[in-house]
């Protein structure tokens, strides 16, 4: 395919096309401060201070609609950053908050957003300690953009977890049902009346993840990532590719809510290809899988956690289907293109 000369919406969809744009945007020569740097494209990056590993991450949030069943842009902004720190094994300590607001945005909505951010901070035990605000002319953006950056620290009883260290033999665990956020947003935004109530899963995962990491011997969690944009499909493909391994997922054991599956069925959308905002994907040493799973399930956010597959030699991500067939789980490409003859 021809390389694009201008940025288009496909570049933001989290699929393969976005990868092309990232090549341009990560062309920094100064990209590493003595730890994990920008070149790793991990959930966050690290540097050392006083013998402690500090994790730093940042994320800008635009969500349409701003308020949706199960949450709002504020909860997404805080949870996203906290989750990026948490999946690296860090404890979120402090966040920043920068808001770019369109002229005419209701103050009452801002109040609701701030309250919701505060609630999420409380759930994770973190704080927003600095911020910035810009107001732009009407029409120059759609409502509001919220950027949060976060600093976390890797505590003594935890350890730094990457997204690239899956090893053959590992069990793949997801912390709960997949596709909830993406389908809730789509249905709500487009005004689909699906009968069933779809709700976003947006939540800060720190306490759940911390419990799971500590439930197994140090180092047993080989890799972890949060399946946000591009969904589980993009996330697991990235993990497999970075580790140079193949992941085999068992269709039967992938937790998907009935309402999400049927909404996906009505709209022709694969729940594995849409965003989650309150889930993590882990690669665990096989012998530690039971302990980690039990710890996850004991937390309210991890009730539906499940072992869904395993890591083997090879490449790519394959789903064993109910009827004994196999198919690839492919990273989404932005818009799906029909391919059935």
């Amino acid at each position: 395919m021809k390389k694009d000369t201008e940025v288009n919406m496909m570049h933001g969809a989290g699929g393969e096309v976005m990868g092309e744009l990232l090549v341009t945007l990560t062309a920094f020569k100064h990209n590493n401060a003595g730890g994990i740097g920008l070149e790793s494209l991990d959930d966050g990056s690290t540097f050392e201070i006083g013998g402690k590993t500090i994790v730093l991450t940042t994320d800008s949030h635009v969500v349409k609609p701003i308020f949706f069943p199960g949450g709002d842009i504020g909860r997404v902004a805080v949870s996203g950053t906290i989750n990026d720190l948490s999946v690296m094994g860090a404890r979120p300590v402090a966040l920043t908050c920068a808001m770019v607001i369109e002229e005419g945005f209701p103050i009452a909505d801002l109040e609701k957003i701030v309250a919701s951010m505060d609630e999420a901070l409380g759930e994770a035990g973190a704080a927003i300690i600095t911020g910035d605000t810009k107001v732009v002319e009407k029409g120059s953006l759609d409502g509001i953009v919220i950027n949060t950056a976060g600093v976390g620290v890797v505590d003594e009883d935890s350890y730094l977890i990457r997204d690239k260290a899956l090893a053959p033999g590992d069990k793949i665990i997801v912390s709960g049902t997949l596709g909830d956020h993406g389908l809730a947003i789509v249905a709500h935004r487009e005004g689909f009346d699906l009968g069933d109530q779809l709700k976003s899963d947006v939540a800060p995962l720190y306490t759940m993840i911390a419990g799971a990491v500590r439930a197994a011997p140090k180092g047993a969690v080989h890799a972890m990532k949060d399946p946000t944009r591009g969904g589980f499909a993009a996330c697991i493909n990235e993990m497999a590719r970075k580790a140079g391994v193949k992941v085999v997922v068992d269709q039967e054991s992938v937790p998907i809510r009935e309402s999400v599956a049927s909404a996906g069925g009505l709209l022709g959308i694969d729940p594995l290809q849409v965003a989650n905002e309150g889930k993590c994907v882990m690669g665990i040493a096989a012998e530690a899988a039971d302990a980690v799973l039990a710890a996850l399930r004991s937390h309210p956010l991890g009730k539906n956690a499940a072992v869904i597959g395993e890591v083997v030699e090879g490449s790519g991500v394959v789903m064993r289907t109910r009827i004994g067939g196999e198919r690839f789980i492919e990273p989404p490409m932005g818009d799906p293109v029909p391919r059935v003859c």
Binding site: L266, I269, V318, G324, V337, P338, R339, C341
Partner: protein, 744 residues
């Protein structure tokens, strides 16, 4: 006395070329030698009747394909002794190719049935005219040590026949008998041996008693049972509606199908022995075998089949390839008990390795539907220049094609390239074609669809080898597979990624591969609500074409719930996940949905096949089609109006069969009209037809008749399928033409 060196190029391996030359030399009193270089046979000859000998060998034996014959003087130092001898094979330039597997010939069949013959009852009897070829070869030149027969050293009798110039099996690489050759065994589903002195007879008894038996054939496993068990088999396979191919004795044909034409009969019992789709005597009979008006039949094509039918009391056996739909045919016995253990109760196996998998070929109305056993690898002479080219094919019904040094070579059918085993099989097949032809592709052509796994494979292969990539639009490849001339191309198809990033499939493409094609006509653009979901549930497609209240109430009557209906309507109004398409297949899907004859697609092409089966019993009523003007001046056939019109007639009591026939005929006439207009506008007075919809007899014949009426001859490539089995070839042809033009 005259001497010379004769070089014969072409498919000269595996066809008994050297023994043929030997016999001629003896007959014409020629002294000298013959050697097989893999792709050419080199004959050194001296004798008084040199010219006559030359003429004789230039024709080649029955199964050979001779591309060229050159005769040159012998070098000074050449010494020709007395007599004639066959020299061992040498490695040479691989412009020739290995022939496809050949059905057991009449002479071998007579041996198998003759109690006095040492081949009596031997299942793997073959000669230089018949037997496995492609399916057993590891490498060229084709000699026993480079085939699966290597592990069966011939016994004294077989060696003697192999050496004897008088024998039909002189230098037959597959020669074997019951004492030295591959052996059969009968196993239970779990792999345990069944005690029997005659595995074939016992298998026939088990089949007669209603058991399902997996039978290892030439290119893979079949799952077999008698007609009475067909329904159970379909349930077990999870294919409740798909037709099953059957094998029967020639004398049983008349009970089931209308008599084939002479040409069809020749093909049925010729070297290919394909599955032939023939109309049933009674269109609504034998529904467990086929719910359609036709049935896929083949005749026994190996010694094993002939012996099996010798013992069988039932007139026919269901013989469906053992695999999940779209995945590669199973070749390994361990795999069959693992994967088909819940389906097959017994396994009739043999110990001859299947090196290269090969499904049965499928033919209908003389046109190839699936290019495979007996037909492929298919080799065609065509000058596409000096560069070597690989075409990786599309995604569904795919195969691969290589071009090297004046020849286009296409692999047997591979399947749907969308699951890991089939992708692996495509990769294997490409490697095999490259090794057999000695090609190192410098250009890799692939489909324009960005998400096809074959496209990704092309990228990966190009990265590895440094080859240049050449994306080819799907329907341009369809037309290029027919001709490189300037034509009005008619591509009627399921789905192809268009150059405007929408989904094409009902296109008039005018031009040539060298100068490109202009989309001078197409079907109306309609929506596919839910994307690929609309192909699975044709009623979605109906609403995509006729998004109105009448469709909604029709669907409500059929039991759609309120939520689903509302979401379907919203999907279309908002154009949410509803890509636009001009596909012909989708119009036929929608027609099947309108008539209520197919509500869920359970196998590839089901809605349009069911529609065709109904149409075959109906009479088309006149229907005026409308053609509008689209963007860029293209003519647009308003397919929604055809369906709306027929919907009105259904409400007034038109019968299902007549409605089906009316839609098909109107659509075909409309497509022909698009082509005629393009021909008139551009002055290009030749058409070319391709695309899977052309398999539909009534649509194809209507288009051809309309074109003939307008005095526009229409080209068809009879060597390639109308469907996507021609795409890899079209890709290679396009890339080759562009390379020659200096555009790649």
């Amino acid at each position: 006395m005259r001497c010379g060196r004769i070089i014969v190029r072409g498919i000269v391996q595996g066809v008994g070329f050297r023994p043929f030359v030997y016999a001629a030399a003896v007959r014409f009193g020629i002294a000298g030698t013959v050697i097989n270089h893999g792709s050419e046979v080199e004959i050194t000859a001296c004798g008084d009747r040199f010219d006559a000998f030359c003429r004789e060998v230039s024709a080649g034996p029955k199964m050979a394909v001779v591309d060229s014959v050159t005769v040159e003087p012998l070098p000074e130092e050449a010494v020709v002794g007395d007599g004639f001898s066959i020299l061992p094979s040498a490695d040479g330039a691989r412009t020739g190719f290995i022939p496809a597997d050949i059905a057991t010939c009449d002479a071998c069949l007579a041996d198998i049935m003759n109690p006095a013959s040492r081949y009596y009852g031997y299942w793997a009897t073959s000669c230089t005219d018949c037997g496995p070829r492609y399916s057993i070869i590891h490498a060229v030149p084709y000699d026993r040590e480079r085939t699966a027969m290597d592990v069966f050293p011939p016994c004294g009798d077989c060696s003697a026949e192999y050496e004897s110039p008088q024998s039909r099996r002189h230098h037959a690489q597959t020669i074997a008998c019951s004492s030295c050759g591959p052996k059969l065994s009968l196993l239970t589903a779990s792999g345990g041996e069944v005690a029997t002195d005659d595995p074939i007879r016992t298998a026939a008894e088990l089949l007669d008693a209603g058991h399902i038996v997996a039978v290892r054939g030439v290119g893979g496993y079949h799952i077999c049972c008698i007609e009475e068990e067909a329904g159970r088999l379909k349930q077990l396979l999870g294919r409740p509606h798909q037709s099953l191919a059957v094998m029967m004795r020639p004398e049983s044909l008349k009970e089931y199908v209308v008599p084939p034409t002479d040409a069809e009969r020749e093909m049925l019992k010729g070297p290919v022995h394909p599955i032939m789709i023939l109309d049933k005597v009674d269109p609504v009979s034998h529904t467990e075998l086929s719910e359609l008006h036709n049935l896929g039949v083949m005749l026994p094509y190996t010694g094993l089949h002939h012996l099996l039918f010798g013992h069988l009391n039932h007139p026919l056996l269901v013989m469906t390839s053992a695999n999940a739909p779209g995945t590669p045919m199973i070749t390994e016995t361990s795999y069959i008990s693992e994967r088909m253990g819940t389906v097959a109760e017994y396994i009739l196996s043999h110990d001859r390795e299947i090196v290269n998998r090969c499904d049965d070929s499928v033919v209908r109305d003389g046109y190839i539907i699936r290019l495979s056993r007996g037909l492929a690898p298919l080799r065609t002479a065509m000058d596409l220049g000096d560069r070597q080219i690989l075409g990786v094919g599309p995604e569904l019904n795919a195969n691969a094609t290589i071009y090297k040094g004046g020849f286009v070579v296409t692999s047997p059918h591979i399947g749907n390239i969308r699951n890991p085993p089939t992708v692996a099989y495509l990769e294997e097949t490409i490697a095999k074609l490259c090794s057999l032809t000695g090609a190192k592709p410098e250009i890799i052509a692939h489909d324009l669809h960005p998400q096809f796994l074959s496209t990704r494979l092309a990228h990966a292969l190009a990265e590895e080898s440094g080859a240049v990539l050449c994306p080819v639009q799907h329907h341009c490849a369809h037309i290029a597979s027919v001709t490189t001339e300037e034509v009005v191309g008619i591509a009627i198809d399921g789905v192809g990624y268009g150059t405007d990033a929408t989904i094409w499939g009902g296109e008039i493409l005018t031009g040539s591969p060298a100068d490109g094609y202009v989309r001078t006509g197409h079907l109306e653009q309609v929506l596919m609500p839910g994307g690929d979901l609309a192909t699975k549930f044709p009623e979605r497609m109906l609403y995509g074409i006729l998004p109105d209240d009448a469709t909604l109430s029709l669907l409500a009557e059929r039991g759609w719930d309120a939520v689903s209906l509302r979401v379907l309507a919203q999907t279309v109004t908002k154009r949410f996940n509803s890509p636009a398409t001009t596909s012909t297949g989708r119009v036929l899907d929608a027609a099947a949905a309108l008539l209520g004859v197919c509500r869920e697609r359970t196998y590839d092409g089901e809605p349009s096949m069911v529609l065709e089966a109904y149409a075959a019993r109906g009479t088309p009523q006149p229907l005026e089609v409308r053609i509008a003007s689209g963007s860029g001046g293209a003519d647009v056939l308003l397919t929604s109006e055809i369906l709306r019109d027929v919907r009105g007639r259904l409400a007034c009591g038109m019968g299902t069969a007549d409605a089906a026939a009316t839609i098909q005929t109107a659509l075909a006439k409309g497509i022909a009209e698009l082509a005629v207009r393009s021909a008139e506008r551009t002055g290009i007075r030749t058409a070319a037809l391709s695309g899977g919809v052309a398999i539909n007899r009534s649509i194809r014949e209507t288009i051809l008749a309309e074109l003939a009426r307008a005095e526009i001859p229409c080209l068809i490539n009879p060597q390639y399928p109308f469907g996507d089995g021609c795409i890899s070839c079209g890709q290679v042809v396009t890339a080759g033409v562009l390379a020659q033009e200096g555009k790649i």
